[in-house]
Symmetry: none
Subunit: 230 residues, 2 copies
Amino acid sequence: MLTRKQHELLRFIQARLEESGISPSFEEMKEALDLKSKSGVHRLISALEERGFIRRLPNRARALEVLRQPDDAGIKPQRPVPANSNDDSARARVPQLAPEPANDVIEIPLHGRIAAGVPIEALEGQSSLAVPAALLGSGEHYALEVSGDSMVDAGILDGDFALVKRTNTCRDGEIVVALVRGEEATLKYLRRENGMVRLDPANAAYEPQIYGPDEIEVQGKLAGLLRRYH
Amino acid sequence: MLTRKQHELLRFIQARLEESGISPSFEEMKEALDLKSKSGVHRLISALEERGFIRRLPNRARALEVLRQPDDAGIKPQRPVPANSNDDSARARVPQLAPEPANDVIEIPLHGRIAAGVPIEALEGQSSLAVPAALLGSGEHYALEVSGDSMVDAGILDGDFALVKRTNTCRDGEIVVALVRGEEATLKYLRRENGMVRLDPANAAYEPQIYGPDEIEVQGKLAGLLRRYH
DNA sequence: CTTGTTGTGAACATTGAGAGAACAATTAAG
DNA sequence: CTTAATTGTTCTCTCAATGTTCACAACAAG
């Protein structure tokens, strides 16, 4: 997943955060990697961010956060139910990594109810939802509460939480969050036909809808689902 | 699922990532597989990606990630992912010594696939699943992978994970894990009628089944549901 | 025979990395 | 408010490392 330099930088940031709790500045990273220009650091940081290893606040000084360790990119063996001291050995394989383990559960923003007639972006930062990491792939995710029954035949019920991976692209037949004419977000199957875009509900009571490519903006695709029974 | 070469490549990538955290380049993989051209590697990589074993960023150097293992005993790939915490005090975070998140996360045992013809108890202690506490109420819970489509009309699909609260009792109309004659566990609506117990599927293609009270043992009731999309 | 997998080689395209400078944003100080 | 210091961003060059694609061939399985 990483190149040597990316790996090196990540470990440096990680170490710095662990020992002092303060992110290194670009200048410091430049020195640490023995570079003579900050632009190289910038590119590496961007690469790490793109790959989901770190998170940062743009235009903020020393605002780095390590999200992942290079080594746990792969699979982990089945984890025994907690509380045994011998899971230290299991942990020993994964290098010490502390500030934000977040290996099992991820907090993702909950953007409100979908099909509520409001573009997703307008609802940013309301609340959040904890989600098992195993449910999600890579990338940035957010959650929406499903409103309505247009997708019941796909097993998506009113009140369910849809876990959505933010993306602008999708393949035909995927369930996506589509923003229609910039004003209404809905969860539907998306298919392309003759240069048009068709949104298919999963409910015989609803009709497929066809739009021009310009009328539809894909805001994410369905990555998981979460439901509570009372 | 995989050819010999594909398997070999996958294991090599996996090993490389685990030991160094750095993806091998095409050149390195070429050497490892004793090939004389990178195009072969390219084809294998594409095959692995298509089959969902690895993920990659196209046109990026050393950007491989293993999602699944060939001999994987059936647990999900465990992939950490960028968290999207909305606290903007990343820099102020104090490094913690305790790796344990101590969040509102619960590890519950995953007991295998339900309706597999085996009593739940027999499958104890295989693996586990991390679940946000908010999804569950009080009490002891466990998880089952749903097999079959007998509950599709209740929005419960094949492959979903059912989160079950362990209990011996239930109210009419609840979805429960019922052990039938001590040998088969199924997920169904449970209703009592004239001293008998009726298990209702949520699928018109299946028939309700009626048992004597002695033939049915309630092993838990459905408390939540998790689903992954690929 | 047809299909799918594997192997080879080479041309080609893209990214990664480093340097240096100018510019923008943020913060603290006067 | 203005200024200066710190820090992050972007740009253009340059070269090396790496990934992509194509055509052609061998081989095995069905």
